[in-house]
């Protein structure tokens, strides 16, 4: 057990012990140096150390070193002891040629362990060219300056000036551009800037100032001279229209500390030197920015965004009930004119109650432009059930890297909305506009369900389907039967008609035959047979001629038919006479002469009727 506990304890306490004695080994050197000017390179370590293995300084001229110095301090604060120790190795080097060189890390031993320092990058600037003493400008400035001739020495346009530096001279509309006012000075000291600073308004641009960092001076080689430089003002500019936009000059007023070179009055003056403060107006020159309009063919739903963006989005739910809220969250991330982005529109379907989008911005201004995220929350409440589709959300912007429009899309969702608890379509509203008190309608509701018995049939019961052949046959068969019936009946009628005509035609012949029989009987003096023959001749003739069935054969009938056929009244009288004479004579026998007369009369009558058109 003990064997295990000891390493455990060690592992717990050792780190803290070691931590208290953390070794820090660093190399320090100025970032920029000038050719031919010595500089120092320091290695500091906070422990007692030995065996410093300096790297190769082959890119630099080695002048001196290493000088070792060490310091230690101990302090008690609130009864707590803190001690520090510093061991410094100092080398003096000199830049040999201009360029950027890296001094490799050095190594050092502390308590037998080897530690490595950081490497150092040093930019070696070229040496100053022959100083140009532009006396005229100096004089000119002097005359403008009311500070007097005593304080003017060493201040010239070459000694101190402000440059206007723009990151790009040609930009696209809405593309960020960084404008920097940088102070260059050499041989003078700038004490401070006064409040009399006039920065132009940057009309035509949207300005986004960068946070002012602590002013740090850097050495920079410019126009053949090495200057101390400091950034005094930085801003991001977003051009708002295309064309050439001019930026006006900016005016700064700086207080300079100038060493006065004047007649030496006393030995002390000379010894300490004499400085005076000079106020000097500095002008940063104006510049012109060429702004190119965004190419034509802006996509639909162009957000106005210029830069690089990505977009993500999600929906809170796709299955919900009516009257419940649904949220779409969009997250636009990127760099560019984030502040000017239009929120993409969500095309909510009909029947959704929509609310204004909630936008949360989280921006950071950098020299590249504004970057960060823009979170947009869309809230909507569906009011009716159903299945709805939300089309994809489109966000179009101009990509400055690829110089073209790009469209980002997110989503495209289908929402299944179930019926809600309080669907507005089901709420009951009874409207009644009557004043009469008939039956007061308290509410409307559907009538009760049917509870009676049900009946069933076979699934494929025989039914006549409309337009089927069975249906058509139901019409055709009766039609055919009707046609057949019609033809049959017509033929029979025709046949009947033929019989009548035959009788009509043969009527005279039949009558003549009967008359002959009558004549024969007259010659034989057979009265009975004669009258019978005459009577039959008359009746048969009339029956055939007038197409009267034997059953309907009587005197009145015959007379009425003859009348209807418009036969002469005289002839009708004759017919009547013949018929009644023949009838009478049959039962009351008369003379022979009467027989002959009747015979004559009958044959004449038949002849006359034959000539009549009946």
């Amino acid at each position: 057990m003990k064997k295990i506990i000891i390493p455990l304890l060690l592992s717990v306490f050792l780190p803290s012990i070691l931590k208290a004695e953390d070794v820090e080994f660093r190399a320090e050197a100025p970032q920029q140096v000038v050719v031919g000017k010595p500089f120092t390179l320091r290695y500091t370590v906070n422990q007692r150390a030995r065996d410093l293995q300096a790297p190769d300084f082959s890119n630099f001229d080695f002048i001196a070193g290493p000088y070792t110095s060490q310091s230690s301090s101990t302090s008690f604060v609130n009864g707590k002891r803190t001690s520090s120790f510093t061991l410094t190795y100092t080398y003096t080097l000199m830049g040999r040629e201009e360029g950027t060189f890296t001094i490799q890390p050095a190594t050092i031993r502390v308590d037998g362990n080897e530690y490595t320092s950081n490497g150092v990058r040093i930019q070696v600037l070229p040496a100053d060219e022959q100083p140009v003493h532009n006396q005229t400008t100096t004089n000119k400035q002097n005359s403008n300056n009311s500070q007097g001739s005593t304080a003017n020495v060493g201040i010239s346009k070459d000694n101190i000036f402000i440059r206007t530096i723009v990151s790009k001279n040609r930009v696209n509309e809405q593309e960020a551009l960084l404008l920097t006012y940088k102070l260059y000075f050499a041989g003078v000291d700038v004490a401070q800037f006064t409040q009399n600073t006039k920065i132009p308004e940057f009309s035509g641009f949207l300005k986004q100032e960068l946070e002012q960092q602590e002013i740090q001076t850097e050495l920079e080689h410019y126009n053949g001279r090495n200057y101390q430089t400091a950034v005094i003002y930085r801003t991001l500019l977003y051009p708002q229209h295309s064309g050439d936009i001019t930026i006006d000059p900016a005016h700064f007023e700086a207080v300079l500390r100038v060493q006065v070179r004047q007649q030496v009055r006393s030995i002390f003056d000379d010894f300490f030197g004499s400085y005076t403060n000079v106020t000097r107006e500095l002008t940063a020159p104006g510049t012109t920015i060429h702004v190119e309009a965004l190419p034509t063919g802006k996509p639909a739903g162009f957000s106005g965004g210029v830069g690089q963006f990505t977009m993500t989005g999600d929906i809170s739910t796709t299955e919900l009930k009516a009257n419940e809220a649904v949220t779409i969250r969009l997250n636009i991330q990127g760099t560019g004119n984030m502040k000017l982005l239009k929120t993409p529109a969500v095309d909510w379907p009909e029947g959704f109650e929509t609310y204004d989008a909630k936008v949360t911005n989280n921006f950071k201004t950098t020299t590249q432009g504004v970057s960060g995220t823009k979170q947009i929350e869309y809230l909507a409440i569906p009011r009716a059930a159903g299945e709805y589709t939300i089309p994809p959300i489109k966000f179009a912007y101009f990509d400055t890297r690829d110089n073209q429009y790009k469209t980002l899309t997110v989503g495209g969702w289908t929402l299944h909305i179930a019926r809600g608890e309080n669907d507005e379509t089901t709420s009951t509203v009874v409207q009644s506009y009557t004043n009469k008190e008939d039956i007061r309608q308290l509410g409307t509701d559907v009538r009760y369900i049917y509870t009676g018995p049900l009946t069933t049939t076979k699934a494929q019961s025989k039914k006549i389907v409309f337009g089927s052949w069975q249906h058509i046959i139901c019409y055709i068969i009766p039609l055919l039967i009707a046609i057949i019936l019609f033809i049959v009946f017509r033929r029979r009628i025709k046949e009947n008609a033929d019989i009548v005509r035959m009788r009509y035609k043969k009527a005279n012949k039949v009558a003549q035959k009967r008359l002959k029989e009558a004549q024969k009987a007259m010659n034989e003096h057979n009265k009975q047979a004669f009258y019978e023959a005459i009577e039959r001749a008359a009746w048969t003739y009339l029956s055939d001629r007038l197409n009267i069935p034997t059953a309907n054969l009587n005197k009145e009938n015959i007379v009425s038919i003859l009348r209807s056929k418009q036969v002469d009244e005289q002839l009708i009288e004759e017919v009547k006479q013949v018929l009644s004479t023949a009838e009478l004579a049959r039962y009351a026998p008369s003379a022979e002469s009467a027989m002959e007369q009747l015979y004559k009369q009958t044959s004449e009558l038949i002849d006359k009727l034959e000539n009549q058109k009946i």
């Binding site: 009011r383 379509t425 369900i449 049900l454 069933t456 006549i464 409309f466």
Partner: protein, 262 residues
């Protein structure tokens, strides 16, 4: 040999009858369960049971009238659930099978009074309304039978007219014939109209809560007008997932999944 066959046939017929009787009993019990669910306000279960009643069960289906009653009850259940479009659909189906069901008419009116779209009957012309009312008086089968009977009457009338000698009889039969012929033709067209309605099923009910009719069968089409749930539309043609509908004087395209044919 033949006698054995006859006996077998008789046995088959008897079993068929018995089966039918059993089925009838089963359907009735289903229907009663559904009704009791309805009373207990368990409309989901009631609707399921009603659906069971409507299904064909071993060659036996509900009679037309009973089917209409089941649809009527389903309409009520949907109405109680608040599903207006389905309840309207069920009432319409009921009325299709049984055009003179007064309860269904009344309930349909109530359901329609609660939908959002103000319904204007497509055939607002009164003659067309009457024609429709007359058409709905009988079923397709009945109209077919009536039409055939009237046609027979026409034929008899013509025969009598053509063959009779008696003037009055001829007159009477002539008038009978032409009146019967016209009525037969009307009945024929009524049957045809009903047949067309039942087979093509052009009438449909919107089931989607709210939707926009488009100018073309495409989601990018211009929105023409808005329709709400429960509105009755006429489907004129279908093209893929889309159908051309008309409501009143409006015409537009909507997705087929948003409507249900009656």
């Amino acid at each position: 040999m033949t006698s054995i066959k006859n006996i077998r046939n008789i046995i088959i017929l008897l079993t068929c009858f018995l089966l039918t009787h059993n089925m009838n009993a089963q359907v009735s019990s289903d229907f009663q369960t559904a009704n009791s669910y309805y009373d207990e306000q368990e409309y989901d279960k009631a609707l399921e049971a009603y659906q069971l009643c409507l299904q064909e069960n071993e060659g036996v289906v509900l009679s037309r009238k009973s089917k209409a009653q089941v649809y009527y009850n389903m309409g009520n259940a949907y109405f109680k659930q608040g599903n207006l479009s389905q309840s309207i659909l069920a009432y319409e189906r009921c009325l299709r099978l049984q055009p003179r069901n007064k309860d269904a008419k009344y309930n349909l009116e109530i359901a329609q009074s609660r939908i959002i779209d103000n319904l204007t009957d497509n055939s607002s012309f009164f003659v067309a309304k009457w024609a429709k009312a007359i058409r709905d008086l009988l079923t397709e089968q009945a109209w077919i039978v009536v039409s055939i009977c009237l046609f027979l009457m026409t034929l008899i009338g013509i025969l009598v007219f053509a063959l009779s000698h008696y003037v009055s009889l001829r007159k009477a039969s002539f008038h009978t014939a032409w009146i019967a012929l016209i009525l037969s033709i009307i009945s024929f067209f009524n049957a045809g109209s009903l047949h067309h309605r039942d087979t093509d099923r052009t009438e449909a009910i919107i089931t989607q809560g709210i939707l926009n009719a488009k100018s073309s069968p495409d989601k990018s089409g211009t929105d023409l007008f808005t329709l709400h749930e429960g509105t009755k539309v006429n489907i004129k043609e279908t093209l893929g997932d889309w159908c051309n509908i008309s409501v009143g004087n409006n015409e537009g395209w909507i997705q087929t999944s948003h409507v249900e044919r009656i």
